[in-house]
């Protein structure tokens, strides 16, 4: 390190160490970027816990009938059906919470046959782009869905 000459303004020791510090931080950018964690796509504890809440099995033999029930329930709850795919058993819907139009509730429902005369219905609900983890919300949904599926009382 060349010593500061008499003509240039001498750097105080505090300023020199600050400059060295800044240079070290700058050099840190040349380091290898941190590797993504190995369990990046693995479900979190939270996700595993709510997976059971999100799925329910119903005694409905016809999958299309179950899907119609899901759609009716969602429409009654004020949802706008955004996407529907019968062969895959997918329904996606969303609604804005009135009167505050800032909160968005989205739900993605899949209906899959399960065993004889039963279907498994799974609902993934999100609130403002974050997954909903409260059990009551899913219980509310499945209660409304049950009413919609078995409205004839058979």
């Amino acid at each position: 390190m060349p010593a500061a000459s008499a003509r240039t303004s001498p750097l105080s020791s505090a300023r020199r160490s600050l400059l060295l510090f800044a240079a070290l931080i700058g050099l840190g950018a040349c380091a290898r970027p941190p590797a993504p964690p190995e369990d990046l796509l693995a479900p979190t504890e939270e996700q595993m816990r709510i997976r059971n809440l999100q799925t329910r099995v119903f005694d409905v033999s016809d999958r299309q009938l179950a899907m119609r029930g899901v759609i009716t329930a969602l429409q009654d709850l004020g949802f706008i059906i955004e996407r529907a795919n019968e062969p895959l058993g997918l329904v996606t819907a969303a609604r804005f919470a009135e009167p505050r139009y800032f909160d968005v509730v989205g739900i993605s429902v899949t209906v899959r046959p399960r065993g004889a005369g039963q279907v498994a219905i799974r609902a993934n609900a999100i609130f403002n782009n974050e997954p909903i983890t409260e059990p009551e919300v899913y219980q509310n949904f499945f209660a409304t869905l049950e009413r919609s599926l078995f409205i004839e009382g058979n």
């Binding site: 299309q64 509730v105 909903i132 919300v137 509310n140």
Partner: protein, 217 residues
């Protein structure tokens, strides 16, 4: 020749009251840290419960049609939406699902007049009071009207179908200013369309279309 030397600069900096610096920094750090301490936002527990107005909305949005042909009904619904100026964007035959959208200008006289009055009054205010207090309110510029329709076999009446449609709009505002601050354009809000007349108009056309089709057979 520099007028200040490093030592004099140091002395000037120290002229700030020392007594306030330490606790001031601590207070600032504490306030900053409270941001991390706020509880995560929870969702309302009442989500997915039927609201009392749900039955009234259902009545406005639903009609029954005495037809057994679900494909024809869905096709007729798409035709009516096209007549009303919509573009059908998505469909699913087995579930009788249609989704359509149309874009229109959202400018309306009331908002433009209000904007003019507010701009005029605030200009007067700033002319007399000095400074810049001119407020130009952003007005609605553009809207997208959307429709989501489901046509299903009716469960109450055998041999008839039930069509339920919901109309809603997304509105974007233009830009404006408040004093020297510019309000950028693009503020968006969403409104459900609850006006019964629009639904009656849609179902009137659909009824006519289905009636004409069934007459042909």
């Amino acid at each position: 020749m520099p007028t200040t030397t490093p030592s004099s600069r140091q002395r000037r900096a120290n002229a700030r009251p020392r007594a306030l610096r330490g606790p001031g920094l601590l207070l600032g750090a504490a306030l900053f840290a409270t941001g991390c301490a706020t509880a995560p936002r929870t969702t309302p527990r009442e989500l997915f419960q039927l609201a009392p107005e749900s039955a009234a909305h259902k009545a406005t949005q639903t009609r029954h049609f005495e037809t057994r042909d679900s494909d024809e009904l869905l096709s007729a619904s798409a035709a009516v939406l096209q007549d009303l100026g919509f573009q059908v964007t998505e469909s699913d035959r087995d579930l009788g699902f249609l989704r359509a959208a149309k874009e229109r200008s959202a400018r309306e006289y009331g908002q433009e007049i209000r904007r003019g009055i507010v701009a005029f009054l605030t200009t007067l205010l700033s002319a007399f009071g000095g400074g810049n207090a001119v407020v130009v309110l952003p007005v609605d510029l553009h809207q997208q009207i959307n429709a989501s329709l489901i046509a299903q076999p009716s469960r109450e009446r055998e041999g008839s179908h039930e069509v339920r449609i919901v109309f809603y709009r997304l509105v974007w505002k233009g830009d404006g200013s408040s004093g020297d601050t510019r309000i950028p354009p693009g503020e968006q809000r969403m409104l459900m369309i609850r006006d019964a007349e629009i639904y009656q108009r849609f179902f009137g056309r659909l009824q006519k279309s289905v009636f004409l089709e069934s007459e042909k057979l």
